[in-house]
């Protein structure tokens, strides 16, 4: 009887341990940014400008049901179609001193497959940090690829940037950044 109970216990324990171990390894997940298109929009009474970067880098680490993400993009990688304007943008945003825009956010691992992601973003840019709460992104999951789109409602004043002027008229404060990214779990 004792032998039988020991054998039964072993039989139950081994699969349970294996299952728990599998869950633990699944929770420690790493995400990688595959493709990205980030586009800022600048408005001026005489100009409408879009600057695009495809050079964002991103990673995410999941642990204990929480995933921390980091996206970084070089300020100089944004292209508005005019080299002089891009250089002026780098100067205005202190891009030589602070070459990377960094965005950090945390999501629960359970929400990673949801069609809408509600993120609290911490954005470091131009030597300043701004927080944006409840920024929603739309997500489409196709196989292993997670396609995410949305808009970060950033403004010039959030980062204490002196708005550039043209003919003494400053640009509008709002600089929304359109986000289009494809992530996959490694």
């Amino acid at each position: 009887m004792n032998k039988f109970s020991l054998f039964a216990t072993l039989l139950l324990t081994v699969p349970a341990y294996t299952l728990l171990n599998a869950q633990a390894s699944a929770s420690d997940q790493t995400w990688k940014l595959d493709q990205s298109t980030l586009t800022y929009h600048m408005s001026h009474p005489m100009h409408e400008v879009d600057g695009t970067s495809h050079a964002a880098l991103g990673t995410g680490k999941c642990h204990a049901g929480q995933c921390d993400f980091l996206v970084a993009v070089a300020v100089k990688s944004f292209d508005s179609g005019d080299s002089n304007r891009d250089l002026h943008m780098i100067q205005t945003t202190r891009g030589a001193q602070f070459p990377y825009v960094q965005v950090r956010f945390r999501l629960s691992q359970a929400s990673l497959n949801a069609s809408t992601l509600d993120c609290d973003l911490e954005v470091q840019f131009a030597g300043n940090t701004a927080n944006y709460s409840h920024v929603t992104f739309q997500q489409t999951v196709q196989g292993a690829s997670h396609h995410i789109t949305g808009v970060v409602p950033s403004t010039v004043s959030d980062f204490k940037i002196d708005p550039p002027t043209f003919l003494t008229i400053p640009i509008k404060n709002a600089i929304p950044v359109r986000v289009d990214m494809v992530w996959h779990a490694e």
């Binding site: 990673t59 995410g60 179609g81 304007r85 250089l87 100067q91 030589a96 001193q97 602070f98």
Partner: protein, 261 residues
């Protein structure tokens, strides 16, 4: 026989003298070349030594927040950048993205250079726009510059045109000087409107030199009671082309314009 001997002696003296002269001329030259070569090597080696010398240790500045995190920040201009690059939580850091500190480290010196460039180009832009006024005024006043019905004595309107033209050229030179002296921060080819802005320099810059020269020639011809003739008669056409290309250069950097209030 004696005469022949004297001749030979003279020739020999001349040859010896010439040889000495050649040696005297050539040796200092070679010596100077050798010395300069040696000096060059010495300078090069001293430069190499200077380049290979290790940097003096810089004072380490530790901020309060860095102390809290147990991180040490480097000194100088990159202090803020390093502070910026610290992850706020236990989340991923820039190094997890494959970026080295050299990639993410900013340069206050480069930022200062960019600030200086922008400052100078802003003055260039402002002066350029102000220069439109004397250029336009010179174009308008040109209507009264030619002598009316053979009246070569009345020079008032012509003098006004000359004064406005001279002002336009002087302000143009000042405007150009700010663009020329602005530090270059990128060696990539220009893209967009600024490319056309630069191309148009090849029209309005020679035009701004030629126009006053031709104008002065025309002025002298009129002052001496002659009709404007020869190359001076191109003054108006050159001025018009210059003013048009100048206006186009301003539009090029402002294009495309979408007026929306």
């Amino acid at each position: 026989m004696e005469i022949q001997g004297r001749t030979w002696a003279g020739v020999t003296r001349v040859l010896i003298g010439g040889l000495c002269f050649t040696i005297l001329c050539a040796v200092p030259g070679r010596l100077a070349a050798q010395i300069s070569q040696q000096q060059g090597i010495q300078v090069a080696s001293s430069k190499a030594e200077t380049l290979t010398l290790p940097d003096a240790p810089l004072p380490v500045v530790v901020t309060k927040s860095a102390l809290n995190r147990g991180n040490t920040l480097s000194s100088g201009s990159s202090l803020l950048t390093h502070a910026q690059n610290q992850p706020p939580s236990n989340g991923p850091s820039l190094s997890d993205l494959g970026l080295s500190p050299a990639d993410t480290e900013g340069s206050a010196a480069r930022q200062a250079l960019m600030d200086r460039r922008t400052h100078m180009l802003k003055i260039h832009q402002r002066l350029g726009l102000i220069t439109v006024i004397p250029v336009a005024a010179a174009c308008i006043s040109s209507a009264g510059a030619p002598p009316e019905k053979g009246n070569y004595s009345d020079t008032t309107s012509r003098d006004i045109h000359v004064a406005l033209g001279a002002t336009a050229v002087a302000m143009y030179a000042a405007t150009a000087s700010y663009a020329i002296r602005a530090p270059r921060v990128s060696h990539e080819p220009a893209r967009g409107g600024v490319k056309w802005h630069k191309y148009l320099i090849y029209i309005h810059a020679p035009g701004m030199v030629l126009t006053p020269i031709l104008g002065a020639m025309a002025y002298n011809q009129i002052s001496s009671g002659q009709k404007v003739h020869g190359i001076a008669s191109a003054h108006g056409a050159v001025a018009a082309a210059t003013a048009a290309s100048y206006g186009a250069a301003i539009l090029a950097v402002s294009w495309p314009i979408h007026i929306k209030f």
